[in-house]
């Protein structure tokens, strides 16, 4: 398994040598979803708290860092910290509210959706941040590497998100092996039993939400400077929240490799289907999410634990 991971990492490291601009941007998007899925997985896969509003944290990270950069010239390498802090605070506040008022299960999930939707409508009306018209980062064409301002050629973005994905993978692995990780698993499996064993549910839950939100926001900062255009409807929308959760669910909830595998399966599938339908000259709007829906349906129906656990079983 370790060898497989190393080979995969090697392939990713060498990919830009062979990949053209199209493939490189595809891989960048793939890794973005692997990264965001990993961050979401902390909350759902480890701690068992289903959030369907993670677009909120992506959007917050993106808007905070973009606004700091546009209005005060703060480079994203510094802007990422307030962005992560803002998301962690909002996440913790939602967690605190839900804990204080004992909002659980389905109701908790609806609460996460409600807050993301409120943020979406709020940002639509913040005319200083562009409102529905969108917020745009000035695009400069540079060939070099400027990590401080996140300006440079596509390869820089690719290697940055690759680094972030690898880092978050190892971070999650360390988390899972830590006392906090075991408390999360206890919370996920049986909150009552965990509490009776002395697990401080509030702290453990808040840690999961705040960490997951902060890491998601860092992904949002990356995405903001990669795409350069922010629209509340896309960045805070329920559709985006659902897109984030696809890879970890298909790959395997709560597993470290699941989000990566899910993204590796989904993105090429989506691209292949688009390419095929386009070559036939069919109208293709909606074809990708339509196929994602079918894949998701097949996975929950036939492989509810995801693809990775099934493969791991075979390997042993």
């Amino acid at each position: 398994m370790r060898i497989g991971l190393l080979i995969l990492l090697g392939l990713f490291l060498l990919a830009p040598l062979a990949a053209g601009p199209y493939l490189l941007s595809l891989l960048t998007v793939l890794l973005t979803f692997a990264y965001l899925g990993q961050a979401w997985n902390i909350m759902m896969g480890f701690a068992g708290q289903l959030s369907l509003g993670h677009a909120l944290y992506v959007g917050l990270g993106a808007y905070v860092s973009a606004a700091l950069s546009i209005f005060w010239g703060v480079p994203p390498i510094l802007g990422v910290f307030p962005a992560m802090a803002a998301a962690a605070l909002v996440g913790a506040a939602i967690g605190l509210l839900s804990f204080r008022f004992a909002v659980k299960g389905v109701h908790f999930t609806l609460l996460t959706i409600a807050f993301a939707e409120i943020a979406r409508i709020l940002f639509q009306h913040l005319s200083i941040l562009g409102g529905t018209g969108g917020l745009f980062l000035p695009v400069e064409v540079r060939s070099g590497v400027d990590l401080v301002h996140l300006r440079g050629d596509p390869r820089m973005f690719y290697y940055l998100i690759l680094t972030m994905s690898v880092a978050v993978f190892f971070f999650c692995r360390a988390l899972l092996a830590s006392p906090l990780g075991y408390r999360w698993l206890a919370l996920r499996e049986d909150p009552g039993a965990a509490e009776s064993l002395g697990v401080d549910l509030l702290r453990v839950k808040l840690a999961a939400i705040a960490l997951s939100a902060a890491l998601t926001a860092a992904g949002g900062v990356f995405a903001a400077f990669f795409y350069n255009a922010l629209f509340p409807d896309q960045w805070f929308g329920l559709g985006y929240s659902i897109e984030i959760i696809l890879a970890p669910i298909i790959g395997g909830l709560g597993t470290l490799f699941g989000p990566i595998l899910g993204a590796l399966l989904l993105s090429p599938l989506g691209e292949a289907i688009s390419a095929v339908t386009e070559s036939f000259g069919w109208q293709t709007a909606g074809i990708k999410p339509f196929c994602y829906g079918i894949v998701l349906l097949a996975i929950v129906k036939f492989l509810p634990d995801g693809v990775w656990p099934a493969i791991r079983k075979r390997l042993r």
Binding site: T109, L111, G286, F290, Y292, G293, L296, L297, V300
Partner: protein, 285 residues
């Protein structure tokens, strides 16, 4: 002017109530949150549009056939797909129905395209003048139909044997099995009834708003807000919530910016979730 808006909101709210009733019935009996609720309603809206466009059928006439077809679809869906998920964890049910929602919304996008399609019946612009009030004719007719169907449904659950059996299965699933009720079948009938509700509501709604794929997720969220506010699983709550949200949206649309009206609904949703999670008319368990 304000009074007109209140009446408009009230009438729209009655249709919302019928739609939310479908969600509430399914949850009340099976404890499953139908995340594809609005998407299914959109299927019915397209059905109503197609019946009008190609057969010249007024949605008020296609109402019952569409509801019947949706009943069959809901029954089959529960039997073929949802049943094994009844006893699985919440999040699995959620994900199953999210996948269905993705398929339906984007399937609609593939088949019909993103453009809005409206139904223009020849009385679309008629209105009644009752005292100082000016009431749209379509809205009034649609609301009357919604009320009639809701009353029929309540009577079904109250007086028929099947309705009583479903309520028994909702109260105590194992007890219902012990006395020999076919719970699986009752669940399928319930899912069918819930789907028929939103089929009827969708058909009525197609008289008032244009059909397009992205209406689906909006209606799903709207139905969630309504049933949570009224009380998840409570039938009276779904109706009260529908009317409340209908009026609130109509007023927020006139007094504030129209685009802020859903902000108001979500704010209400958060407040209810925190302070009274059983909803206004729900019972705490």
């Amino acid at each position: 002017m304000i009074a007109d808006q209140i009446v408009t909101g009230l009438l729209t709210g009655l249709i919302y109530g019928l739609m939310a009733l479908g969600l509430s019935v399914i949850f009340g009996v099976m404890r499953i949150v139908n995340f594809a609720h609005g998407e299914m309603a959109v299927v019915a809206m397209y059905g109503a549009w197609a019946a009008f466009r190609y057969l010249g059928l007024d949605p008020l006439l296609s109402l019952l056939p569409i509801a019947a077809i949706m009943f069959g679809a809901g029954y089959a869906l529960q039997r073929g797909l949802v049943q094994p998920f009844v006893s699985r964890p919440d999040y699995m049910q959620f994900i199953l129905l999210i996948s269905l929602a993705l398929i339906l919304t984007n399937g609609a996008l593939l088949v019909f395209g993103p453009e809005a399609r409206g139904i223009g019946v020849d009385y679309s612009f008629d209105s009644y003048e009752i005292g100082p009030l000016l009431i749209d004719k379509v809205r009034l007719l649609a609301a009357v139909a919604a009320v009639a169907l809701t009353a029929l449904l309540l009577a079904f659950f109250r007086f028929t044997l099947t309705g009583k059996a479903i309520r028994a299965a909702a109260d105590n699933r194992i007890g219902a099995q012990v006395i020999g009720l076919d719970v699986k079948k009752l669940y399928a009938v319930t899912f069918g009834i819930g789907t028929a509700c939103l089929g009827a509501a969708g058909t009525l709604m197609s008289l008032l708003v244009d059909v397009m794929p992205r209406v689906g997720p909006e209606l799903t969220l709207l139905s969630f807000v309504i049933v949570i506010v009224g009380g998840l699983g409570s039938m009276a709550g779904a109706l009260a919530g529908g009317v409340l949200i209908g009026v609130a949206e109509a007023l927020a649309g006139t007094l504030l910016q129209p685009s802020l009206k859903s902000m108001f609904s979500y704010g209400l949703l958060v407040l209810i979730l925190l302070l009274r999670p059983q909803g206004l008319l729900g019972e705490r368990n």
